[in-house]
């Protein structure tokens, strides 16, 4: 599984890093980025949770 954050949509709600701190980094200005290339098996559920809770629909699943 691969995920990405669309920087044009992300507004820094930080819901992603709260739900999946091992997958996301949020910078000083609130912009989130994915810090792994491939989502490890045990974090797939956390990744989906982040996707489902981002108010800006900024997190995309690039590859299941």
């Amino acid at each position: 599984m691969r995920i990405r954050v669309n920087p044009d949509k992300c507004q820094g709600h930080s819901r992603c890093i709260g739900l999946a701190p091992d997958l996301f980094d949020v910078d000083d200005y609130g912009l989130s980025s994915v810090k792994v290339d491939i989502v490890p098996e045990h974090l797939k559920q956390a990744a989906r949770l982040a996707v489902d809770n981002c108010p800006e629909y900024a997190i995309e699943i690039v590859e299941e």
Binding site: Q11, G12, H13, S14, R15, I17, G18, L19, V26, D27, D28, Y29, G30, L49, D52, N53, C54, P55, E56, Y57
Partner: protein, 403 residues
């Protein structure tokens, strides 16, 4: 000012109507299924969208909906007083909340690092000790006002610490914030308070210029934008905003959450026995009891979802109503502390997303955790004594509990 009670919510609503302040939920439900964008001419032409989709799309449409006046209750100067705008120390408003780009963009960037996810973690020990200190004042007495003695006391102390202003000013700050937000209908109060707030921060600016410290105010004074200092007028607006935006809102959320736990013993037990759900529970409490409504000003005549909006009309963005929309949330009226799909808008959406949301969340979580550690079992002393404030910010103001 007393107003006539509302009978037609779709065409003549009033967000200060006692029924709306006390229990807005059935009103939003009724509007959503009959006339999802309500209208009124009380206090000027104003629209009230109640669906998630409309609130969300208007919050993102900054071209048609300006933040030039975000107050839900319009400010009317006291009788006989004229406002001379050129003399107004707040000539730039309260950026970034009252600004559109470009002023919005760079003023927002100046404050974001102070409330970043990382920075906020460093405020946790300070927040915890504030909560412990407050609890120790009443934990052995068997009763307390969870709003006045606890919720109200926390955010004001935290923001005082970050701004580097004396914590002993807390009660004064609390009074100022309530005058501006809750007693907005009383023009004298609002006007006197604005004056006092502005003078306080002007003095603080002078103080920091002489003796800079390791705090937000000093840092703003030292910042340069393209080689120029930021300007005292803009800094002043930002400081007034940080005090107003961070206090009433967060204390309302803490208060509503404690009200929920006092009235729902099974949820209270669940949080005590399953502390790992705390982060999800906090988001759910934010969704279900979202405190904030913000206003926008229509920039040009536009037909929005069939509603003939005119330039200058106000639109009230009730993030609280959006968060109760059954189209966006399964069983929105049920508070499910383990809710997994929760794209709530308690902190707004789009470019004005609450700049303090990391801080607010942290404060709410720490406040609930510390309370439950010391007082795991509690209930309302008398439900009839509970009072709620509404308008721009909704939350309990008197909340007596016993334990």
């Amino acid at each position: 000012m007393t107003t006539n009670p509302v009978s037609e919510w779709a065409t003549d609503f009033d967000v200060l109507d006692p029924a709306y302040v006390k229990d807005p939920f059935p009103i939003w439900d009724q509007l959503r299924s009959s006339c999802p964008i309500a209208h009124t001419t009380r206090r000027g032409r104003t629209w009230l969208p109640t669906r998630y989709e409309d609130v969300n799309s208007i919050a993102h449409d900054i071209a048609h909906f300006s933040s030039s006046d975000v107050g839900v209750i319009p400010f009317q100067p006291p009788d006989g007083e004229e406002i001379d705008e050129s003399e107004d120390p707040l000539e730039y408003g309260l950026p970034p909340i009252s600004a559109d780009p470009p002023l919005h963009t760079w003023t927002r960037r100046l404050i974001l690092p102070w409330f970043s996810h990382r920075r906020v973690s460093s405020y946790i020990p300070m927040t915890r000790s504030i909560c412990e200190m407050l609890l120790s004042r009443f934990s052995s007495s068997g009763h307390a006002d969870a709003a006045v003695d606890y919720a109200q006391q926390i955010p004001v102390r935290v923001i005082a610490h970050i701004l580097g202003v004396p914590e002993e000013m807390s009660d004064t700050f609390t009074g100022w914030v309530r005058d501006v937000l809750e007693f907005a209908e009383n023009p004298e109060k609002r006007s006197d308070t604005n004056g006092a707030l502005v003078q306080f921060f002007l003095d603080q600016l002078e103080l920091r210029k002489k003796e800079p410290g390791d705090d937000l105010i000093s840092s703003l004074l030292q910042t340069e934008i393209e080689g120029e200092p930021v300007g005292d007028g803009i800094i002043l607006g930002m400081l007034v905003l940080l005090l107003i935006a961070g206090v009433d809102t967060t204390w309302s959320s803490i208060g509503s959450s404690l009200w929920h736990l006092a009235t729902n013993p099974e949820d209270r037990k669940r949080l005590v026995t399953e502390p790992e759900i705390m982060p999800l529970a906090i988001e759910e409490l934010l969704r279900a009891y979202s405190p904030v409504t913000m206003a926008r000003v229509v920039t040009e005549d536009v037909k929005y979802q069939g509603c003939p909006m005119q330039a200058g009309d106000k639109v009230l963005l009730s993030f609280s109503a959006a968060n109760r929309d059954p189209e966006a949330f399964e069983e929105p009226e049920t508070v499910d502390l383990g809710r997994k799909h929760n794209r709530h808008l308690a902190f707004g959406a789009g470019i004005h997303r609450c700049a303090g949301s990391n801080l607010a969340r942290m404060e709410l979580q720490v406040a609930v955790e510390e309370w439950l550690k010391v007082i795991p079992e509690f209930r309302l002393s008398n439900p009839d004594e509970v009072t709620w404030a509404g308008g721009q910010v909704r939350g309990p103001r008197i909340l007596p509990v016993k334990f």
